[in-house]
Amino acid sequence: MKTMEADVVVIGGGPSGLSATAQAAENGMDVVLLEKANVVGGAANMGMGPLGIGTKQQSDMMVDIDVERAFKKFVEYTHWRTDARLVKKYFENSGETIKWLEETVGVEFAGAYKYFPKSDATWHIVAVNGGIGRNGGAIMNKHLAEYAEENGAKILFETPAKKILKDDEGKVCGVLAVDKDGEEVQVNCKAVIVATGGAGDNPEMIKERTGYIFHGNMFNFAIPGLKGDGIRMAMEAGAATTPMNVEMMYILPNSDFGPDCIPSVFMQPNLMVNQLGKRFINEEEMQNTTFCGNAISFQKGAVGYSIIDSRIAKQYMKKGVDVVNFVHHPEDVADFQEAVEASIANDNPDVVMADTIEELAQKLGIDPEALEDQVDEYNEMCESRDTLFYKDPKFMKPIEKAPFYAAKFRPGAYGTLGGIKIDEDAKVLDDNWDPVPGLFACGTDTCTIYGDSYMFLLPGNTMGYCVNTGRFAGDSAADYVNDLED
């Protein structure tokens, strides 16, 4: 067994762990970061940027948002089922954190953006090649890692932590890990920060803690390695646990790695029905992936079918889609027909094509009469107005011309949320709400601020929470270590 010494050990190298590492190192701590994978960034390497409120980007772009307005909106949305002190501290610091990322860490931002029209422009997109691109989170994470290393932190890759060690007085005193050669590594330290990013890749824990069945009624991203290790280790070390949830959205489970035109076209606000053949949502809300995910998971079989006809498809292929967002924004969808045919040829169960509504219903397992009735009713409303859910008339396009296309959307999630109880300083609390000495946690393992549904109206929330609570944890751990030494 190898042994190492450090002031602070951080478990997990996503944005929360990296921010915690960077912050603690900046505060003069000797920090060791234990990462399971070969790459820093974790799930956030698929993300685009963190939330910020009151930033230079926002004032440059004349965005009207401040901490008070955002806070009020947030507690309204969550009905105060949240840790209001933590939310307030997070929002209050989020602007300074963007500045820190930009000026101190070296992250370039393309600006502050909305995800969809009803949301606020809190999303600070990390610049890719100087502009808006995908997965800028990966670039931010690299900068954080480099900044942490410049400040003396050590990052150990392929070295998963196994256990948090405590001394006779109940204070955290080290972490046991295993390195890539299978050798045990014990890092002795004074404080531990848990930041392992939840349990998205642990179907048993998801079932036990949220009730969702992976690949039954939940098709979350199972980012390899997100096993809920940190939640388990923290609980073993005395942490109280919190209810866990998923960060709901909706997804075509088998089409994410295919051409972007398929999700882009089927996420347009046309006709969406459930297994009974009935509409269940104002399709404009399909832009709000949380709301639409909630609505789908509420349906029979947890499935929603998005249906278009070939006139709509042709129009999209020729002129582009009606609405775009930051994730799905193809330049054009001219390859839609070809992509659908290829998907069907490759046995992709997400996509279906048929010459009649009856045949489409049969392929989707819906009662043909029910679907025909719904389509007739919908088409009639296209000529007047949507008297059922009041959709904007400009998105009311009749489903008339064969062939017809449908896609089967299922509830998805980026991962899990919550599990470890912390206070607004990222101190881990026990069942009596007393801090576990030397134990801190941040990021998704602790994120229960959203109440029942992900707060999509202030985009960038998850990564913003991670980076900011990561910094709180880094600060608190450094203060704790300094106090021990005094």
Binding site: N38, V39, M46, N129, A138, I139, I155, G225
Partner: protein
């Protein structure tokens, strides 16, 4: 070779002549992104990630194919170079999915890491994804070629390094793709070495999910070579199979001897955990590892003896209670370590279960005797047979410095049921001991109760003693029986009738105190709960009677010691098993160690040997030694990575051993030799060729990421 001097990123560097700029930079802790380049492959310079700027040269140079030259000034971070890298990255993402969601390689993907490093997460150019289905139809290897970025590492490793060429580049519908050179990997004569999996930078070529899951938490050596890891003693299986293939049988035998002192006996009777882990099962059947081992040992020339270690006498005395495989393994290594060893055994002869539990028609006694003789010649070993030790710690008082308890489980048990004391009821351990001693007898109709290997041996022995009708009944379903497939098949060949999923209600009395039959009943399910308590659900109305004059209980064995811990002097557990702490076999009394069946319950010879080795290490340290019992008995082996093509490799069938047929092996069991005759030369040669050589993968360089280089640079 001479060195040349050059400057990279302002750093003065001295690099061997002929080295590429890329390798010179990496060796000096300067990371240059690269993808198509791989340590085991010839560079092709195709991915353009490793371009750098050279003073005095227009544009960029490709650092993986350009050699260092005296006086070169290289800038790895120039604007043009970085712009080209970003563009190259964009080109890779033209075919690769834009989203990482759902990719099992997330976090371990070189493309992901690289795009993070160059600061271009791709997706600037219009995507042009490869529309091709996931192919899960091949054994071991999974293709999801819609993730392929055409770096060609898989094609090159298969062709250049392995000399197989099972995959190739081909234009399909006008698009360049990596495809199988045939209808399937088997058809393409793939050797299933998984080199392609090892070098693939993305999630395109991987192991099947279940195989990939087995790698989690293991080192490369452990994960890639499952047979060696599966063997409790970690015998280096692929190494000795390779020696057999090369015709060097003494070397092969020496490899086995590096870990076990009973190689020949194991060649007959090992339960071969290695074969249960063998990846060849994904193609058809496991390699017949045990028979290959036996063949090698049968062709040994004792040349290993020249390399074996013998340490000088330490003056320490070790007592070993039990002369079975576990005790004798400990005796062997302790004596080689220079300790003076005394082996106590209650039986007439040494060998334990090898002699008194496994019938002679399966393990010839001359083989066993010769191996025991060899062990006893290893050093200062005194044998005291027919000596039962009543109290282990007492030996410490008698002057022994350490005591090793390896009593085994020689006491069979009867189930508590009506009729279990009738005349004609026997118990496995005693029955097999009597069979060995030549004084066992059975009637005409025998019922064996139990479904393990010992039960099969009881049935086989009964058959050879003249029983006409033999029935075996057990709780387990056919597939859940603990007896090995092979032994079960042999028993069926010999006419034993199996009754699976039965519980035993009572043994019937003929009215004169003799066994008349066994009443059994079908069960729907049975399981043990967390307290090891069994739960049965019976099938209504399924009672039946198996007529019998002899009943043999084969339902487990226990150590032959008292349940009262005060008697034997050690803390006990689960009744009368010896309690130990950790892997080293420490008992409740310092200086007394224990291992084998008396600790774990009846297991296997190979486990007993493996545990004995662990205990020896601990005992030697306890006695002041270094605990080092590793030895290299075989000569060096060159693992040739170039395995070439074998026509029809994937469908080569497992070789079956030569087995003496029924009734010859029954009627003449005393004279026909062992029933299992093992392999002849042809069978051994054919079988050794089937090995997938999983260990070759360990020789391929592990994939590195920018974080790895940053660190190694720091250390340098």
């Amino acid at each position: 070779m001479a060195n040349v001097n050059l400057i990279i990123d302002g750093k003065q560097i001295s690099a061997p002549e002929g080295q590429t700029i890329l390798n010179a930079a990496l060796d000096n802790g300067i990371y240059i992104p690269h993808l198509c380049s791989h340590e085991n492959l010839h560079p092709t310079g195709s991915c353009r990630m490793c371009v750098v700027e050279q003073q005095g040269v227009e544009g960029v140079v490709t650092s993986c194919i350009t050699k260092v030259q005296e006086g070169m000034v290289i800038n790895t971070k120039g604007e043009t170079a970085e712009a080209i890298r970003k563009l190259s990255c964009d080109f890779m993402f033209k075919t690769h999915p834009a989203e990482c969601t759902g990719c099992p390689k997330f976090g371990k993907c070189q493309l992901q890491s690289l795009s993070q490093y160059v600061g271009d997460t791709g997706r600037k150019l219009k995507a042009n994804t490869i529309s091709v289905k996931a192919d899960e139809t091949n054994p071991i290897i999974l293709h999801e070629m819609y993730r392929c970025i055409l770096c060609g590492r898989c094609v090159r490793v298969c062709e250049e390094v392995r000399g197989v060429g099972a995959i190739k580049f081909e234009k399909v519908d006008g698009r360049e793709r990596v495809v199988i050179d045939g209808d399937s990997l088997k058809d393409a004569n793939c050797r299933f070495c998984t080199a392609c999996v090892e070098v693939c930078p993305t999630g395109s070529i991987r192991e099947h999910k279940e195989l990939a899951e087995k790698l989690i938490g293991k080192t490369r050596e452990e994960g890639f070579v499952p047979c060696r890891y599966g063997c409790p003693a970690h015998i280096d299986v692929p190494r000795y199979i390779r020696f057999i293939k090369e015709g060097n049988y003494p070397a092969a035998s020496a490899v086995v001897r590096e870990k076990v002192p009973f190689p020949h006996s194991l060649g007959y009777i090992c339960v071969h955990n290695c074969e249960m882990e063998c990846k060849h099962q994904e193609l058809n059947e496991a390699i017949s590892i045990r028979n290959l081992k036996r063949y090698a040992v049968e062709h040994d020339d004792d040349s290993w003896k020249a390399n074996t270690f013998h340490k000088s006498p330490t003056g320490k005395k070790a007592a070993i209670i039990g002369g079975g495989p576990t005790g004798l393994t400990a005796a062997y290594y302790l004596a080689k370590l220079g300790h003076s060893v005394t082996v106590f055994d209650a039986g007439e002869k040494l060998g334990g279960q090898l002699r008194y539990g496994i019938p002679g028609y399966r393990l010839p006694r001359e083989v066993l005797d010769r191996e025991i003789e060899e062990i006893l010649a290893a050093g200062d070993i005194t044998v005291k047979t027919q000596t039962r030790i009543e109290n282990a710690p007492k030996l410490l008082e008698e002057g022994y410095d350490v005591v090793f308890v390896a009593l085994g489980t020689h006491s069979g048990s009867k189930l508590p049921m009506k009729g279990n004391d009738l005349k004609g009821v026997q118990v496995n351990a005693a029955f097999l001991r009597e069979f060995e001693e030549g004084c066992a007898s059975v009637g005409k109709k025998v019922v064996v109760l139990g479904g393990g290997n010992v039960a099969i041996d009881c049935a086989g022995a009964a058959k050879r003693l003249g029983a006409e009708e033999i029935h075996m009944a057990c709780l387990e379903a056919y597939d859940a029986m603990t007896a090995s497939d092979e032994e079960r098949a042999w028993a069926l060949e010999e006419g034993v009738v199996l009754h699976n999923k039965k519980t035993f209600l009572e043994i019937l009395d003929d009215g004169n105190g003799n066994v008349d039959g066994v009443k059994i009943q079908g069960i729907k399910s049975f399981y043990f709960d967390e307290n090891r308590k069994s739960h049965l659900e019976l099938e209504e109305g399924s009672e039946e009677v198996l007529p019998a004059d002899t009943v043999i209980f084969a339902v487990g064995q226990r150590p032959e010691i008292s349940m009262d811990p005060a008697d034997f002097g050690l803390e006990l557990t689960h009744g009368n098993y010896i309690a130990t702490h950790g892997d080293s076999g420490e008992t409740s009394v310092p200086g007394v160690f224990a291992a084998g069946d008396a600790v774990t319950g009846t297991q296997s010879v190979i486990k007993g040997i493996a545990f004995a080795r662990e205990a020896v290490i601990a005992m030697d340290r306890y006695l002041g030694g270094d605990g080092d019992i590793e030895e290299k008995l075989a000569p060096d082996q060159v693992r040739d990575p170039h395995i070439g093509v074998i026509e029809g490799f994937g469908d080569l069938k497992r070789e079956e051993p030569i087995v003496v047929p029924v009734p010859e092996r029954i009627v003449n069991y005393k004279t026909c030799g062992p029933m299992d005759q093992g392999f002849d030369d042809e069978r051994a040669a054919r079988e050794a060729r089937r090995c997938l050589q999983c260990d070759l993968r360990c020789d391929l360089a592990p994939q590195k990421f920018w974080g790895d280089y940053a660190k190694s640079g720091e250390e340098a």
